[in-house]
Symmetry: D2
Subunit: 302 residues, 4 copies
């Protein structure tokens, strides 16, 4: 018999992920507050629940894809207005929160789940809307070894790279570290390319040299931010699509909060966060919906 | 008949480079102010000239490997005390300056050479003393297409990756950009690893995840700065050997000077330069002779 | 008849503040979890309540001085374990929270108070333990005009400079902005003095020149961070006493959180936060209990 | 008999300075390459020399006000094309270079002067075109005690605050330190004001509070960067006039160069330099000719 997955949160990412679960043979019962989203999910083969609690009631797996940590906490734990989902989820089910939230929020939900004998892993994703649709997301999972093994049953239907980062909360921590480093080397790459151009270099040639040298990094190799250097990347498409400045700022905000909480020094990450934020608000128009490699424009002198 | 190379500057790098030229069949006439250096060069098969001018007089190629731009300018152009080498070098020879100096110094020498009908390329190296000895350096060359082709005759005897970055000065510019970006992602990598550790992650696991994710970069892949994560790197050998903090600071200084001259914005590079400089002087002992990945210690909380 | 003040939180700051209220003729009913603190308060002329709720029950004014925003919220609003103080405070009383917490925490408590018809102002202090004892604190108050006027009845007994910054939360916001700017110019002053010394200047002479020039700022005028330049400041007393690195880091943390919430760019404040945090953890000993002007040592090259 | 002053460099600053010397009774023999400048100087009562050498030949004092260090070196020391002024200046004269240049350039000229038994002080100015015209400049002087005393004879005719910073070069070093600190607290002030506004504060109220608190600094007190807070400052006049972004960038460039040379750490100064440079080039128009307090706009979110 098909395994049952409850899926809550059918936004740009969630809708593609739910559709891939259906394709892999899961029976998916989905819920979202948006009627548009649920209509689309129905078209993709999901059953539609009228409440989140109804969706989870007989689930083997519960997957949530929600906007922030405060919503995730409220959905699972509840508040003065409503009971949380934890009370409705069967003890046999495995809960996977794929939202990007603070490690501390994940740990709070994980503890609440454990107190009610529910199994919980955090499993934030890497990769954007296109990867969600294609089923090629990466997942960074925090949870016990056993729950991690179990989680792969559903995660392999949605993604291609699945890592265990450690115990509950570790998935979020790993994502934050990775994306902070990404922001640092994307800004650094844009800066190095502009410095080269300002000193008479051809950015194509400079990129080729650095790709084969110690300056090599993912931003340079997969996502060159200078227009005209690489085909098929946002930089060659007016910085449309890709990974939005606002999403990078959300992740950098989570990294900054984590650093404050753990008293860690993050001078490069903090510099990157502020450069992306200055960029977002520069030139009198909000650049939050541009691809994050548009930071290249911030360095431009014209 | 063997091609003749004049080699001026037999320091840690230059002595290995000169030895490799001998091995490849060149007739090398070497000069250095240090008697120790010339004795060693003689042992390696070089002829020893008693002055730099004597070394170059019938050369097919002139290679210099000198400490800074002011010395390179003086050696080639001369000053009130001494004539420059340009007057002694045959018009048929190709001049290769392999020192790491400012692009503007390279262009000054290049122009002086052109004014005297001499051909000049700048060809700074990437890779340390071990690569110099092994003949596996990378060279970033600035000069005309024709001179670049010509330069490979000798450069292939000393290195394995040879790039043309553009016209005279472009080799230095490319090296500066690359090494600034390296400093940025090394500091960023150290910072991300420490943030992960402070948030409960195992640095080995976090490194593996980031290597396969968008945080991937050369520092993480070839040179992990956290002790115990990777074998055979300076981090696992008390930060001995490798690429010294002082050399990274020299290159970052050249990058900062170039950015001032070209009015470029380098917020990440400047942050990195200051972090490495603070690190060098921290804890009451000069860390200039440690490997540059020792920046990891600067982020440590114990 | 003497006005009655309930005082909750008798730490280093609170005990001096409560004592000054007694001296000014208020009848002070005090509470703290620490027996040592209550014993001292009794010696200073306070009545001691056995619970916070008992302290506030017939108060004209309620003053709290607590460690962080989460505690302040719990004390006033309550949680699953205990009712909050708001239910016990008379409607006629004015509540003053003098803790340093996030503006959003202050607004949360303010809204909860308003919902129960209680009047609330946030009134964080500036000035340390000595000023608390001497009654010369500065207060930055957030609340209505009328409540601000009322608050002066008690605040003038504890401080000499009392500002209205705006509505509830504005006192905290003003404190955060001020202290972030203080951190920036303290680090900048230390940096400028060290740059001067490294370039052959006498720090006494340089300080005198900058005091009369456009570099003048509070750090230079009242709190010179270079040992030996000014008498009676922490720099001339091994950086003992004064305003601790840990307290500056707490305030910078609140500033960073506020900036994330309001999407503000704070590149200089973020750089300062990270420098103070690197300084705290440098040299293998925790410098959190040193005066914050000890950042001067972080710039030293010996 | 009137003392004779040779004045070389009649730009925006120099012309006002030369005019004030005439008003104070000096006989001024002036030179500039620009005919417009010399015509104006003649109108102001200067004698006009046809070469710089002619101007200095019988001078008691020589004052130069030139654009950069390389020009100052060439004017005094000469090059392959022309003899330097030092040979034409009487041994009895005192030389004052009022240009803003690197300390090392000042020391180079000072040494060359000493080698020819000429007395030299560097005396860079603080204050803009208006202060030059009004005779209210500040001078930071580097030279011997005796030469400093002598220099006041002419400097008091042009300025109101005259400091001795140390030996030759120290005037330049002091100016660099002061202006770097100014850049740091101006950027910090703009940032703190914007953070306050983003968190609901009135910038007028916040400015008043910080002026009386530990955030106080010259930028806040004399030069508030937020439009509408203070009358008569560039911020209330579309950032016209005042101290231009390009001049601040020149001084920050000199500070950065000095820091590289002395291996000093300047993380805050470097951050400020890059913020001003990003600001200059933002929004597709060069803001170099705006007042430097326009950095406030860079932080704005609209």
């Amino acid at each position: 018999m098909a395994k049952r997955v409850a899926f809550v949160g059918l936004g740009n990412m969630g809708s593609g992920m739910a559709a891939n679960l259906v394709k892999s043979g899961f029976e998916v019962k989905a819920f979202d507050l948006s009627e548009l989203a649920t209509t689309q999910a129905r078209d993709n083969g999901c059953y539609i629940a009228s409440t989140a609690a109804e969706a989870v009631v007989d689930a083997d797996f519960v997957v949530t894809m929600l906007p922030n940590g405060s919503i995730v906490e409220t959905v699972y734990i509840g508040d003065e207005n409503a009971k949380g989902l934890l009370d409705s989820i069967p003890e046999t089910a495995l809960i996977l929160d794929c939202s990007t939230i603070a490690p501390i929020n994940a740990r709070t939900v994980g503890s609440a789940a454990a107190a009610k004998s529910r199994r919980f892993v955090d499993a934030p994703v890497s990769g954007g809307v296109a990867a969600a649709a294609a089923g090629t997301l990466a997942f960074m999972v925090g949870g016990s070894e056993a729950d991690f093994e179990d989680s792969k049953t559903v995660l392999t239907a949605m993604g291609s790279n699945i890592f265990r980062a450690g115990d509950v909360g570790a998935g979020q921590a790993a994502k934050i570290c990775n994306n902070m480093l990404l922001a640092v080397h994307m800004a650094g790459t844009a800066e190095a390319l502009q410095l080269g151009v300002d000193n008479g270099l051809d950015p194509v040639v400079l990129s080729e040299i650095m790709l084969k040298s110690s300056g090599c990094n993912w931003s340079l190799e997969k996502y060159n931010p200078m227009p005209g250097v690489m085909d098929g990347v946002p930089a060659s498409n007016h910085y449309e699509g890709g990974f939005l400045v606002d999403l990078m700022l959300k992740d950098l905000g989570l990294a900054m909060e984590a650093s404050l909480r753990s008293q860690s020094s993050v001078p490069m990450g903090a510099a990157a966060r502020n450069l992306f934020n200055l960029h977002k608000h520069s030139d009198g128009e909000d650049k939050g919906s541009k691809d994050f490699s548009s930071i290249q424009q911030f360095y431009s002198k014209s």
